[in-house]
């Protein structure tokens, strides 16, 4: 099965061939490297830019103003912060021009901890991103989801931030992408660039099929009766594992992969919380003014009298950075045992 980096690569190839993507660009995105996570290898419209994040976002915005579709990359979200006012402009252009200029552009950037990336390769951007009105914000949790969300992002007439959970980029999925060869080695031989000299290498793309994950729709990862966990990105798998273990203790946990932070699937959250009456939100962006606090607020406002326990938000500690040593990183972002304990506590909380 493809890993998430390969899935993204295949989605971009599909976009070039079928969705009028004419530019895929960013630092080290083009040949020979094809992206620091290999997600842009072998693409015919990929190219390298100066090491200038503001230039990258400005370029994407200008391309979108012509109506053409592009995908830009900021190599790590840790380096996206100096582009904030350009992101604001991309987000407000359709609104301020009363619909005169739609902005069909995708910006993708790796986010989150989990690879021992230290202070400047572990940031999250989820909550920052939700404070950029006019943007859609998505984050996949599996290779197939990455493929489908990226195709939807490319087709969308609005600016879309495609957040890549960097700890999952090398993780293989358990579902085939439509058109992906069943043999993993065959896929690798066809679309992974060789190590070292690769000047004359060209990929042999499989015949890929469209697969769209609608933006704004959550995914039910597993159904449960006692507690709802709403999460996204790499914590989907962690929460599902905790739920699986707790099943043996008689605790039935529903896990929802939000997938899309804006717009978000309120009906999925609402229906689940009405059923379980208890909810935990998990993500790794810092905890003060975390996006999950908005979701928790809405649960409290609209479902207060249907709850059996106070909604909880488990997020990254409000620290200036993620320290490199594993003891530091693990103490900074939600861990498996913490999620499991929180679910257990919620299940047993008495009103």
């Amino acid at each position: 099965m493809a890993n998430m980096a390969q899935a993204i690569r295949m989605a971009l190839h599909y976009g070039e061939e079928n969705l009028n993507v004419k530019d895929i660009f960013g630092q080290d995105v083009g040949a020979p490297l094809g992206g620091v996570f290999t997600a842009t290898q072998g693409l015919k419209t990929s190219w390298n830019t100066p090491l200038d994040e503001r230039g990258i976002i400005g370029m994407a915005t200008g391309i979108a103003m012509t109506g053409e579709r592009c995908v830009a990359e900021i190599q790590f979200c840790d380096y996206i912060f100096n582009t904030m006012d350009l992101l604001k402009i991309a987000g407000n252009t359709n609104w301020v021009s009363k619909g005169n200029y739609t902005m069909p552009m995708v910006v993708m950037t790796p986010v989150g901890a989990g690879i021992r990336g230290s202070v400047y390769h572990s940031h999250s951007f989820d909550s920052w991103a939700t404070r950029l009105p006019g943007w859609k914000v998505v984050m996949p949790s599996t290779p197939l989801e990455a493929y489908g969300l990226l195709l939807s992002a490319i087709e969308d007439p609005n600016p879309v931030l495609f957040l890549k959970p960097k700890a999952l980029l090398r993780v293989k999925g358990d579902e085939l992408i439509p058109g992906e060869p069943g043999d993993e080695k065959e896929l690798k031989n066809r679309i992974d660039a060789p190590i070292g000299e690769r000047t004359n290498w060209k990929p042999k793309w499989p015949k890929l099929e469209p697969y769209m994950v609608p933006i704004g729709k959550a995914r039910m990862v597993r159904e449960g009766e006692h507690v709802t966990v709403v999460t996204w990105g790499r914590h989907v798998t962690v929460a599902a594992k905790a739920a699986s273990e707790l099943e043996q203790n008689g605790i039935s946990t529903e896990v929802i992969d939000l997938r899309s932070m804006y717009p978000y699937d309120w009906s999925a959250i609402r229906d689940s919380v009405r059923k379980t009456r208890r909810v935990l939100f998990v993500n790794e962006d810092t905890e003060v003014t975390n996006f999950a606090e908005h979701l928790s607020y809405r649960v409290t406002q609209e479902l207060f009298y249907e709850l059996d326990a106070a909604p909880r938000v488990m997020a990254g500690k409000n620290l200036p950075g993620i320290g490199l040593h594993p003891n530091l990183e693990d103490a900074s972002v939600p861990q498996f045992h913490e999620i499991k304990s929180a679910i257990e506590e919620l299940a047993h909380e008495k009103p």
Partner: protein
């Protein structure tokens, strides 16, 4: 950094402009005849004068609208007519990459007037009407947007247009076209990194962009003098480090400006390479309403000087210039009266166009 909407001294007196004489366009016969002393055809000189005057009268009306309390803020372009009108006349006008793109800043009325913008559309923007075609009453004066002419939305940050411009120029570079991208900005904005980024991205080897990068140097950033903050004699000199063609012109002279723009735009259209052009201009009414919006008599007035030149060379008669001014003043007055009667944006409309194609962006309705 963005334009600052500061609380400042506001004069209650409308600035008095000097008496301008009226003009009318020359006959077809005389239009084709270059004047003896002036290097442009008489018809073009009169056309430029008429558009400069129209733009000035419009800006004076915008200032009046602010001063009588019918708008919240004014920022605009009086003093930049000699620069902006020739630019507007030389634009390959239309929509899409086959035509020129404009990434303008908030002193662009002369360019838009030269391109054909009716006065009333500027006044609708100034008066925040729902009928304002640029923003529907959402943004400040001079924050124009005309997609049918590739005029991308003007925004208040003073540097970002130097970066969005590289995107449209990139698309034009790989199109079979002679079209180009124009970006305008002030001298203060060139201190931002985006200006340097524009020079870098426009001159990448084998990927040079068909872009006219311009600076209107009025020597002021609100109240801060250029000379206090910049060591470079000419901003255009920075382009030399990138192997870029550069030029410094007197942007208060419409004839020099027209000829220079014609030459530089022809170079870009043919060679598909960037040019950095700096125009020295005046700022006749200060930064904005935040600094008073009153006439600064010490600044050279490009319109007055141009009119005197035309009078002296028998291209224009004073009585004709005066009549033309009266005609534009009446047009502006009537446009304001019309705009007063037009609807304003409703409170319910704040969520409109959040996303494209009417898609809801209000989380309360998710």
């Amino acid at each position: 950094m963005a334009l600052r909407m500061t609380t400042g001294q506001v004069s209650t007196k409308m600035a008095k402009t000097k008496a301008h004489a009226a003009a009318k366009l020359g006959s077809k016969k005389s239009a084709k005849t270059p004047t003896r002393k002036l290097p442009l055809p008489k018809e073009l000189l009169l056309q430029m004068h008429s558009l400069m005057l129209k733009s000035r009268v419009l800006e004076e009306r915008l200032i009046k609208i602010y001063k009588v309390g019918e708008s919240f803020f004014w920022i605009g372009a009086p003093g930049e007519e000699a620069w902006g009108v020739p630019l507007g006349l030389l634009i390959k006008k239309g929509q899409g990459p086959q035509c020129d793109y404009l990434h303008l800043h908030y002193r662009a009325t002369p360019t838009l007037i030269a391109m054909g913008m009716p006065m009333i559309d500027s006044i609708r923007l100034m008066m925040n009407r729902a009928t304002d075609p640029s923003t529907g009453g959402r943004n400040f004066s001079n924050h124009y947007c005309f997609p049918q002419w590739n005029v991308t939305p003007v925004s208040s940050p003073i540097e970002v247009q130097y970066l969005t411009a590289i995107g449209t120029a990139h698309v034009q570079r790989r199109s079979k076209t002679d079209s180009l991208t124009v970006v305008t900005g002030g001298d203060a904005g060139t201190a931002e990194g985006d200006f340097a980024s524009c020079l870098i991205w426009s001159s990448r080897p084998k990927a040079e962009l068909p872009i006219l990068i311009t600076v209107q140097n009025n020597t002021w950033g609100i109240s801060t003098s250029y000379k206090e903050q910049h060591g470079e004699e000419n901003i255009a000199d920075r382009g030399k480090a990138f192997g870029m063609r550069t030029r410094v012109i007197n942007g208060n002279d419409p004839i020099e400006t027209y000829i220079a723009l014609q030459e530089e735009m022809a170079y870009i259209r043919k060679n598909r390479k960037p040019v950095l052009l700096e125009a020295k201009v005046s700022r006749l009414y200060g930064h904005s309403s935040a600094t008073g919006a009153t006439l600064i008599k010490e600044e050279p007035c490009c319109l007055e000087n141009f009119e005197n030149l035309l009078f002296k060379n028998d291209v224009l008669k004073e009585k004709d210039a005066k009549a033309l001014r009266a005609q534009f003043e009446e047009e502006a007055r009537l446009a304001q009266e019309q705009a007063r009667t037009e609807p304003v944006p409703t409170a319910e409309s704040v969520w409109e166009d959040y996303f494209a194609n009417g898609e809801n962006g209000d989380w309360r309705k998710f």
